[in-house]
């Protein structure tokens, strides 16, 4: 192979084909992905086929895009390096037990003896993200369905649990002594109390967190956006039958 030209051409073929197959094809697939409607009415092309999705999903689409604070929170999540240690992936049962771990989905009080599998994550769940937030390492707990961890019984954000989330950012070890999470104190301002009862945003801190008298810890906009993003992490909506193919099935108990 004395000719530089033929060397470059051969090498171009060696690297070019896999580039197309391993990057451009998956990328094109994702760009072509679109939100899918839940079909609770008979398919007009095939009226004989029964409707597949539950009636109450009629008129809804999956997935729904998000914006505002959740989108800004995603940027904070990226720039603060949360993805360095936290994943957002629920693997199927052949690859791990993510689907059955406590806390990996919504609270399952109703099924203590018979755990219900959390749905595995699916490419559609990440459709609206510039870069699916799989994360680089799973050193901290998985956050695919983190939004469920801060809800009360009625499904609304629980003030005490959300406060604990802020406290995790501010001083992780004050909450869990074994945590290896770094502290994100720079997402908070320690300011003088303007009113004796303190501002509405301020953290409720436990006794083991030292704080000067008359001061309070107020989260910045970045911290609030980050919490908004985390509260929105629920990657377990039922897949439309058009994607899933079959009606959602409850897997056999463990």
């Amino acid at each position: 192979m004395n000719s530089l030209k033929s060397f470059i051409l051969t090498m171009g073929a060696c690297v070019g084909v896999p580039t197309i197959v391993m990057t451009l094809v998956p990328y094109g697939t994702e760009r072509g992905r679109h939100a899918v409607a839940y079909q609770s009415v008979p398919d007009p092309a095939n009226p004989a086929a029964p409707p597949k999705d539950p009636e109450e999903m009629k008129g809804l689409y999956y997935p729904v895009n998000y914006s505002g604070d959740r989108k800004r929170g995603e940027l904070v999540y990226i720039q603060e390096g949360c993805a360095q240690c936290h994943t957002q992936v629920v693997r199927p049962d052949y690859a791990g037990i993510d689907q059955f771990k406590k806390g990996s989905g919504r609270e399952q009080e109703y099924a203590k003896d018979q755990p219900v599998a959390v749905r595995q994550t699916h490419p559609w769940d990440y459709m609206h993200e510039d870069f699916a937030m799989f994360g680089i390492r799973r050193i901290g707990p998985d956050l695919a369905n983190a939004g469920y961890r801060y809800l009360d019984k009625d499904g609304r954000p629980d003030a005490a649990k959300v406060n604990a989330l802020y406290q995790h950012f501010y001083a992780p070890r004050s909450l869990r002594g074994w945590s290896t999470s770094p502290s994100f104190k720079h997402l908070f301002n320690v300011v003088k109390k303007e009113k004796p009862e303190g501002s509405a945003d301020a953290l409720v801190i436990p006794a083991n967190l030292p704080l000067e008298a008359g001061m309070e810890i107020v989260p910045t906009d970045e911290a609030k956006a980050l919490v908004e993003y985390l509260l929105g992490l629920k990657r377990d909506a039922p897949l439309p039958a058009a994607i899933a193919g079959t009606p959602p099935q409850v897997p056999a108990a463990k």
């Binding site: 192979m1 004395n2 530089l4 060397f7 090498m11 690297v15 084909v17 896999p18 580039t19 197959v21 391993m22 990057t23 451009l24 998956p26 990328y27 697939t29 994702e30 760009r31 999540y77 990226i78 720039q79 603060e80 390096g81 993805a83 360095q84 240690c85 693997r91 052949y94 690859a95 791990g96 037990i97 059955f100 771990k101 699916h122 490419p123 769940d125 990440y126 459709m127 609206h128 993200e129 510039d130 870069f131 699916a132 937030m133 799989f134 994360g135 680089i136 390492r137 050193i139 992780p172 070890r173 074994w178 945590s179 290896t180 999470s181 770094p182 994100f184 104190k185 720079h186 463990k254």
Partner: protein, 496 residues
């Protein structure tokens, strides 16, 4: 490619000596520039690595926003790869290419200017990560988006002269190392361009994002570090042992099979992730098949060195290169094994990935670059390394530290992952499982810092022209009479 250049000519003529001296003189400035600035980044990277491993355990240490663990960790990885590995690689590529093409380097100034821009890019990138502007969710693409055009342009400005040199080479001079260097010239900018255009310009990649990032990160190891490291090994082993490469066909086969297989691999680390299942399957298969070129390279090197193994005790270059070759084997085997379905259950995105990254970047590539630097610098500075015992110390500190570090990370990842894979275990147990290994990691990082301080001190002495002026090469051990006989052959032949 009809001839094997390093097969020794019957006698080296005085013209050859003069020509080599002229080539060495022409490459002196850019090569030393890349080695010294690379070494400075190596120090920065090892200090950041030490800090990151410290902060994993002593979580309260250095409570500054810019030194947050989640920023120090990616800053360390990127400083190590783009600051040190690439720049050491540039120096080695330039010098080996000039020597093998038997042409003097015509544009040392352009290379140095491009090198300054590369350094500017890395500095901006690391500062951006520490300042909270990085893309910290993309593996090895963590630099802020503004940096990539600068890095790409300065890379092209550097390697274009290598391609020019190759096309203007003396007729008949074609050698496997040149192929590997040429491959590295083209593959990295291509992968970097594709990954950045898709992820930083067009965006909206969804689950293709991690696929592309894994493909790129694996490519950095297998399509850049492996070619450059092997180019150096293919050059140094025949030079030190005074023998021609065992088999031309085998080296050609290993080269093309590496190039044909490596661009498919990478995404196997996403097994079980929400990506189309064929992607990790294809990537994992390619990663296992990459064992074939590795075995071909090993066989070739083994046959070349056969009968001269005792030289590993004598020559610093050969010893580091030999260790690097072992690191290459470990990297290939670990990458192939960890891409398997049954293990990925426990190693999915865990410390093991860091272990394999350190294997490829440090145990293989950095050690191979040390070997090349110990070979090249005396030839371009016209003085010898100050002390063989310090080279020995540098070797053993690095060897112990990196073997320990990689093993600890692999074991930590496995135990952490298998604790997560228990039905009843809480996350606290997983953290506890890996903590002991992470404490050990701090000490090994301290070893690495010490080793690199020794190396940098030696290198600075050489650059300041304060090395030994005596004509004999600095050796790790004094050779036995038998080995001396071998060395006479090599110094009179290829090493001159």
């Amino acid at each position: 490619m009809s001839q094997e250049t390093p097969s020794l000519p019957p006698g080296v003529t005085p013209e050859d000596i003069l020509q080599r001296a002229a080539i060495d003189k022409s490459t002196r400035l850019p090569v030393l520039f890349f080695f010294t600035s690379g070494a400075a980044w190596l120090l920065v990277a090892t200090l950041l690595g030490l800090l990151a491993s410290l902060k994993f355990v002593a979580t309260g240490a250095f409570k500054y926003e810019v030194l947050n663990l989640a920023r120090v960790q990616p800053a360390f990885v990127n400083a190590l790869v783009y600051g040190w590995a690439y720049q050491a690689g540039f120096g080695v590529m330039i010098w080996i290419m000039a020597r093998l093409c038997r042409t003097e380097l015509r544009n040392p100034v352009t290379l140095i200017v491009a090198g300054h821009f590369w350094n500017l890019g890395v500095t901006l990138g690391v500062a951006g990560i520490l300042g909270g502007q990085g893309n910290l969710h993309m593996k090895l693409l963590e630099f802020p988006a503004m940096v990539w055009p600068l890095l790409l342009a300065s890379y092209l400005l550097i390697v274009v002269w290598l391609v020019v040199m190759y096309s203007a080479r003396r007729p008949g001079s074609g050698y496997i190392s040149q192929w590997y260097i040429l491959a590295a010239c083209f593959t990295w900018p291509w992968m970097y361009l594709v990954a950045n255009v898709l992820l930083n310009v067009f965006k909206k990649a969804g689950v293709a994002g991690p696929v592309i990032a894994s493909w790129y990160a694996n490519g950095v190891t297998f399509l850049w570090m492996v070619p450059v490291g092997l180019a150096s090994a293919y050059f140094i082993i025949p030079k030190i042992t005074g023998k021609a490469i065992h088999s031309y066909n085998l080296s050609s086969f290993a080269f093309w099979s590496l190039l044909a297989l490596a661009p498919w691999a990478g995404a196997q680390e996403l097994i079980g992730g929400p990506v189309p299942a064929w992607i990790p399957a294809v990537a994992g298969t390619a990663q296992i098949l990459l064992l074939v070129p590795m075995l071909a390279v090993c066989l070739n090197h083994y046959q070349t060195v056969r009968g001269a193994h005792q030289l590993v005790n004598v020559s610093p270059s050969l010893r580091f290169t030999f260790f690097g070759a072992v690191g290459y084997v470990c990297t290939c085997v670990a990458s192939a094994v960890l891409g398997s379905m049954s293990l990925s259950r426990y190693t999915f995105l865990s410390f093991t990935q860091d272990g394999v990254m350190m294997m490829g970047t440090y145990m293989f590539f950095t050690m191979a670059m040390f070997g090349a630097i110990y070979f090249i610098v005396p030839r371009i500075t016209a003085c010898e390394w100050v002390s063989g015992s310090r080279i020995r110390l540098h070797f053993w500190l690095t060897a112990y530290a990196i073997i320990g570090l990689c093993s600890l990370l692999l074991i930590a990842g496995l135990s952490h992952g298998s604790a997560i894979d228990e039905w009843e275990s809480s996350f606290e147990i997983a953290v506890m499982f890996s903590k002991g290994y992470l404490v050990g990691r701090i000490f090994l990082w301290a070893f690495l810092v010490a080793a690199n301080l020794i190396f940098i001190h030696q290198l600075v002495l050489m650059v300041m022209n304060r090395g030994r002026k005596a004509g004999t090469p600095t050796l790790i051990h004094q050779p036995t009479p038998y080995e001396t006989a071998e060395l006479v052959i090599t110094t009179e032949g290829a090493e001159a």
